[in-house]
Symmetry: C4
Subunit: 262 residues, 4 copies
């Protein structure tokens, strides 16, 4: 009986704990967890909208009750099998991990109908749990490539951010000087002009704040043209870094132990 | 006589069926089909505009009648020669293919003056037929390069989509918390705030919904700056993937059977 | 005396005709021509603005008179030395070239005060003359790289344009179906909806036309997200093509006659 | 005693002058200078906003007084140790350098409460000092890569700027011709239409100026589609150049003195 239970416990541990999972990819159970998290987030998003609550309020309450039961069972199972993972020192150690505390907070938020905003935030934080699951499985290689490329060019990306910051501040100061007197509401201080500078340099361009004097428009046009470089520089850097990382990965496959990584 | 007709049927089959066409590129007949589809789509687009109907209604009805005759003949010819393609098991098998049923639906939509919206949709779906024709001929190599590059980086593109989705949801939740009370129409629920988040992160920036509180603007500026990465990351990934695919294609040409594809 | 004049004519021909110019780059005379064209275009731009005419009308008339004299002398000199270029069969052949006729049209537009719009267009076309001058000199290698990269990926760029066109048409049709009844002015026909689709997919986002129904906004958000790919795909293709062209140019320098160009 | 003071002076010189600093990166003292400059700029930005002045005016005056003392001491120390740098010919030579004069101007602007706008500009110029500090230390390699990539493709970037300029002028002229009579305020002259052309081609799209005639919208849609190329061309060029520069840097590491740089 003890052997059988231990065997069941091991099988559950293998299905639940991604680090103990043998096959590549997520286990069917963890795919279900991802689906449940996405459903919970969807409900969290929709239940802030009064029109949806009115029409589907009952349905959503029922779904939340089911999700509460699912996450409760999942939490207890994970707690039960946690000692089988060599990195975990007992159930208490597992229960006090930040990820486990977050799972507990989500459970409480599902059980107590009085929590509003806090519940929404807890549930959003569960997106991190999906990212954590994605780190394992077949996404880990892709994530490594992304982060390696970003890290290998971190200095250049920092420098282009510094240049962008200078450009943004310079443009805001100039527009504050030129348009401040004409449109005090929009350009009456550098912080206000920065709002315009950000939406221009990122090419968002809401249009709620627009220069009206001829000189202001000339400066704004120059700023918008600089905005091209603002986008082109980091994009080009990332493109070069990805191209470099892919070439390196391929050369390593062809000639292992030959090409020194920097 | 039978030989002669068979020969004519083979010649027609070669001109109509791109898979039986010997020379590179599309046959003159199929170029005419592409032109007829584009004309049909143009008419479908224009006839939704009342001002155009008033001025050129007669001309467009005549053009549609001619296109009906052209597509009817083309449909019957394709049906007639379909058994010559070894992949097709008889005319009935050909007639029941989804592509043939769509062609039939377009024919019916041209013949019946009562169909409005459905006709427009059928005709748009014919764009797929142009893409299908483009798959063959000289575009096939280019299409392979595009899809191979997209597939080789599908994991990284999925991950950047997941990050973008998290960012979008996070920005919408924050703005809902900060601006929800001030602008209930625009930010009164997370789904409403998502509309703002999408137009900001994609740098579209219609400006119909704009934060007005200082804190809301600070958060929106940070979101817009993140929008740069939102565009730069997939663009950089695609650029790296295309660069990689082109290099691989060239190396294969230089040293065939030497470089293992992953 | 005849020898001396011929020598002067040759020296002028060398200074004026970029194809006969010996040294790299533009001759000082042709640099002056570029400056005069840019000045003429600047005047053409500014003299459409009533406020500028009022303040600086006299100055601009004087500048145009000087430019007329300069371009007249330049035209006559070019005509005189044209037979020295082996590609030109006599002065009449030179005078009837489209480029020479355009120069003449600019001269006439400068002399006759009655020409308005036509003069502006003639002057803008002179930008082509600057591009023609740029083709020679040190810009020719850069231009070759640009055009070679564009040509080498023309199939893929065409395909991505075809996909973009389908996407644009599909988005416009959907929004016409969903928003047409609510906002007939903006979405009452597919051509009208196309205006919205273009400004959304290119991420311009003026905001003069915005969907207001929930379903319309969901579709518009999906369209805006597709707009990212709309920008990322051609940018990535160009980046890959440039990267490829630069690598090829460098390998040719290292190992000439070894690497077959496709 | 003299030896000891000289030793102290040398130690201070090493901490203050980045060119005399032995270890990689900035000295702790210069990190403090960067922080002080950023704080000064932050105060300069915030003190233009009346709401901030009202709430935190006293705090900011105190911070400025402390920063004045800090920069005064720093200025005097730099002046004192400047002769130890072999590139500097005495204290007067150092004091008359543009960078030192700017530091002095910032000091004066901090001491005199009457300077407003000039003070803001002086402080912004201090961003250059941060960039100057960044040039040394570990950012120098990244900066070299950025500038080398930009310089290696300067011809192509200039050409794409020339094309963009032609496109912008052409679009503005066409819209002036088509929309000028309908919207004289927005398109009544080419300089006015240029404002629209810049915000369209850069995809900023404020929406304050939008064509309303059908032909104007067709032309504007084509312009917006060209705007994609306007962004894609320089981005692709930069991506290719960065990819090329990174590959070159890596090959140099692998096979030094083998690959000739162009």
């Amino acid at each position: 009986m003890a052997v059988r239970q231990a065997s069941l416990r091991h099988r559950i541990a293998e299905a639940i704990d991604p680090e103990l999972h043998q096959k590549p990819g997520l286990s069917p159970f963890n795919r279900g967890v991802v689906a449940a998290i996405l459903l919970l987030i969807l409900i969290g998003v929709l239940e802030t909208e009064v029109h949806v609550i009115r029409s589907y309020g009952g349905l959503m309450t029922a779904a939340k009750a089911l999700l509460f039961i699912f996450f409760l069972i999942e939490y207890l199972l994970r707690l039960w099998v946690s000692p089988l993972n060599p990195k975990v020192r007992g159930m208490v150690h597992f229960a006090l991990k930040p990820a486990s505390l977050l799972d507990l907070a989500v459970l409480i938020s599902l059980a107590s109908p009085f929590l509003g905003l806090e519940a929404a935030v807890f549930r959003l934080l569960q997106l991190l749990r999906i990212l954590r699951l994605a780190r394992l499985g077949r996404y880990s290689r892709g994530m490594n490539l992304l982060f390696e490329a970003l890290r290998s060019r971190s200095t250049e990306l920092m420098l282009s951010a510094l240049m962008a910051f200078s450009l943004m501040l310079g443009a805001a100061t100039l527009l504050y000087i030129v348009e401040g007197a004409v449109q005090p509401q929009a350009f009456g201080s550098i912080p206000r002009a920065l709002w315009w500078a950000v939406e221009t340099l990122t090419t968002v361009g809401y249009g709620d704040v627009v220069p009206v004097t001829p000189l202001g428009r000339v400066l704004a046009a120059l700023t918008a043209l600089c905005g091209i470089g603002f986008i082109a520089l980091p994009t080009g850097l990332l493109a070069g870094a990805f191209s470099d990382a892919m070439r390196r990965a391929r050369e390593d496959r062809l000639h292992p132990h030959h090409d020194p990584h920097d």
